[in-house]
Amino acid sequence: MIRHRLPETDRRTTLKWLLAGLGAPPVLAACSPSPTSAGPDLLLGVPKPISGTPYGADPDLMNPVTPWDLTMTSAQKDLVSALVDLVVPSMDGRPSGSALGLQNFVNEWVSSPYEQTQADRENLFAMFEWLERDVRGGGGASFATASEEAQTNALDKIAWSGRVADGLEPQAAAFDRFRNLVVSAYFASEPGGAWLGYIGNQPSMGDYAGPTDEALEHLQSALNDLGLDLPEGL
């Protein structure tokens, strides 16, 4: 039984990221290139291969450990930090995504030795490479150091439903996944959870307090709009 897949960052994988980064059709990106074929280098460098082990079926739940190494290149990390801040900017005096270290979560995710995250790894790396190439254009600054305008000009091509440029659907799907992961990590952080309004995980004695008066008033209003009655005895 194969539970975990531990692919090497071989030439074929690298070229897949590269071709996707160039906006090549998926069918081309999926082809196995000739081992002798030459091509331009990856702008963000070649990440380390996956190493380390899965945490297994009996990890120490009281002292969680992430037993795999982080694999993103320095250039990838820089790009991801910038991208994280576009997804989670500093708002209302709250820290931005990179200040909360959400880029480290992305690195942990794409470096983990599980099939589900390995699929994300390939798609996200290709999207990072495409963003880098698009922003640099004819020799400009890297995504990480470019102006916010230059960054959003590139991102806007893949970030909005119904407005994805032709041929960039794989990059748009990868960004959708990236956004999902980053926003999840933001809400799971203490400041993000507070902004979202999760106020559980707090013990209280006695009977469960149930909805507040304010919450019940809101419910009553919604029920009134639908011609429904607030049930009694629950």
Partner: protein, 560 residues
């Protein structure tokens, strides 16, 4: 007659085995228990209050921990390294196992619905499947004792085939949360009942060292205050307190042995810590390794005639059933941007929708047999992976959209009754063995139009509820054959050594006592004669209490 200090050997430490050990030791019987998994100490190992952000990958599910990092499943899940199972061509069956003291009781949902009068006599009612050799009336006092002992919240709703408990048995349920009240309002408007759920979660101090729920931390992680029932905080420590229970963990049982008189005289197991094969004797054996594992052990026993032990009826492994499962999710505008409050509550359901169409069904107005209930899930839950799904753009607008929708989704999960059929069974795989060299199970599984018809009805009812709540369905509503959960996926597998009125077509009598081997009792889900839509654990506990009590009586009378 024996050279050991105990009288009864109990195989398995989950719901059935632990209840048997509790009843037996309380009655003065010395018990030795074998558990295939490792020892587990909930006081030291339960990650109460641990944050998702502190777990690898925010605690999301992985092939190592299918239900998430913090879930109280040890060395288990859909697949266990070195312990495979197979499925026949065209069959899909998923077998959830865990290898730890207390078994699956450490992480179950704690939903605890009694079976009712119709559920015990289903064939008499509609001609399908099999009747139980016991009525609800006979089992009712045992349900009362079990519920009182473990602690169950709920109310007596007086609904047909959803029996009331005895006076003073149930604990008060927690107040309903906003989405539950919303669903109940819509249900009432279209004539569907929505009542407090029943769950094995304490809301009052039972005075036995366990504490009532303090309304925080996921029950699936286990509960180190004992509020959410699991055998490792209750039946097992209580049995140990008698001084009459000893336990060997890491003991993988593969055979129940018999003497020349045909009676069970012990079991063979592999000590997983050394790999050694060992034998342990006993005056009587209680098998409660879980429905499928118990069938496997019996089919692998008495190998000389290949028919398995206690299997003169040929029913061991047959009649495999699981709860019929499907689900529909909706998004409710009236729940958007609602005021925040602590909605953890008892974590699981506070209210649910019991089956409400027994009269219509009896009158022939439905095109499917048997019932289902709808479990309702919606709350401001702890953020984790997936909370950023379905967004558009980036930055403030995307985040504010996520915040607006938080807590506005509702999921209706169908949990229904399956009719046993000849295409659903487990047998010994003729070729494959596990890492211990024990032949593995091969599953055969096919649903029928009965189940598909029920799924279609549940889908329509769920859609009607969502629409009456002013919402939109966000699930992909699939055809029933595609929407239905795979066999085993609801983790209610039962029926593989059914009880009955006759040795000719059943494995045990109503006490779980095997017809062929009178000192061998099966006290887990294997003995169910039908699979009511009610979640099975409460009934496993109750049948085990009654069966173990019968074993005590027979031992006292000297018949065993």
């Amino acid at each position: 007659m024996t050279d050991h200090e105990h009288d009864v050997l109990v195989i398995g430490s989950g719901a059935g085995g632990s209840m048997a050990a509790y009843v037996l030791t309380k009655a003065g019987v010395k018990v030795h228990m074998l558990e295939a998994g490792r020892n587990y100490d909930p006081a030291a190992e339960t990650p109460m209050f641990s944050e998702n952000r502190d777990a690898p990958l925010l605690g999301t599910s992985t092939p190592d921990k299918d239900f998430g990092f913090y879930n109280a499943t040890i060395d288990g899940g859909w697949d266990i390294d070195g312990e495979p199972y197979s499925a026949a061509e065209g069959s899909e069956f998923k077998w959830w196992r865990t290898r730890m003291l207390g078994g699956r009781t450490n992480h179950w949902a704690r939903n605890s619905f009694r079976m009712g009068e119709y559920d015990f006599k289903p064939k008499s009612r509609d001609g399908l499947g099999f009747d139980w050799p016991i009525s609800y009336e006979e089992l009712a006092p045992w349900y009362d004792r079990t519920e009182k002992l473990i602690g169950v919240y709920g109310v007596n709703s007086g609904l047909s085939n959803h029996p009331d408990s005895g006076a003073g048995v149930l604990q008060p349920p927690p107040k309903a949360r906003v989405p539950e009240l919303f669903a109940a309002a819509a249900a009432a408007d279209i004539g569907i009942p929505c009542v407090p759920a029943r769950r094995a979660v304490l809301t009052r101090d039972p005075g036995d060292g366990r504490s009532p729920c303090f309304w925080a931390t996921d029950c699936g992680r286990g509960c180190n205050i004992g509020a959410a029932f699991q055998t490792t905080t209750s039946l097992l420590p209580w049995a140990r307190e008698t001084g009459r229970l000893s336990i060997t963990t890491d003991a993988m049982v593969y055979e129940i042995t018999t003497g020349e008189d045909g009676h069970a005289n012990g079991a063979r197991y592999i000590d997983k810590t050394t790999g050694e094969h060992r034998f342990i004797g006993a005056r009587a054996v209680v098998l409660a390794a879980s429905a499928a594992e118990s069938a496997r052990i019996l089919l692998n026993s008495n190998a000389k005639d290949r028919g398995g032990l206690a299997n003169s009826s040929g029913q061991i492994g047959r009649n495999l059933m699981d709860t019929v499962g499907s689900g529909i999710t909706g998004q409710i505008p009236g729940l958007e941007d609602r005021p925040r409050y602590n909605e953890d509550g008892a974590m699981g359901m506070h209210v649910y929708i019991p089956f409400w169409l027994y009269e219509e069904q009896a009158a022939g107005q439905l095109d499917f047999p048997r019932g289902y209930h709808l479990e309702i899930y919606s709350q401001f839950s702890a953020p984790g992976v997936g909370w950023g799904a379905g967004l558009d753009g980036y930055g403030r607008s995307a985040l504010e959209s996520a915040r607006r929708y938080y807590g506005s989704f509702i999921h209706f999960a169908q949990r229904g009754e399956m009719i046993p059929n000849e295409n659903c069974f487990a047998e010994i795989d003729a070729e494959q063995k596990d890492k211990f060299g024990i032949p593995v199970l091969k599953f055969h599984y096919k649903h029928t139009e009965h189940e598909y018809g029920q799924v279609a009805h549940a889908q329509q009812a769920s859609i009607e509820l969502i629409e009456r709540m002013g919402g939109r369905v966000v699930s992909d509503v699939k055809a029933p054959a595609d929407a239905i959960a795979a066999g085993g996926e609801i983790i209610h597998e039962i029926g593989t050594a059914r009880m009955g009125a006759s040795a000719a077509d059943s494995v045990t009598n109503s006490y779980g006592q095997t017809w062929d081997v009178p000192n061998l009792f099966i006290l887990d889900g294997a003995i169910f004669a039908s699979k009511a839509h009610k979640n099975p654990t409460l009934s496993i506990l109750t049948l085990a209490m009654r069966g173990a009590d019968h074993l005590v009586n027979e031992m006292k009378q000297g018949t065993l």
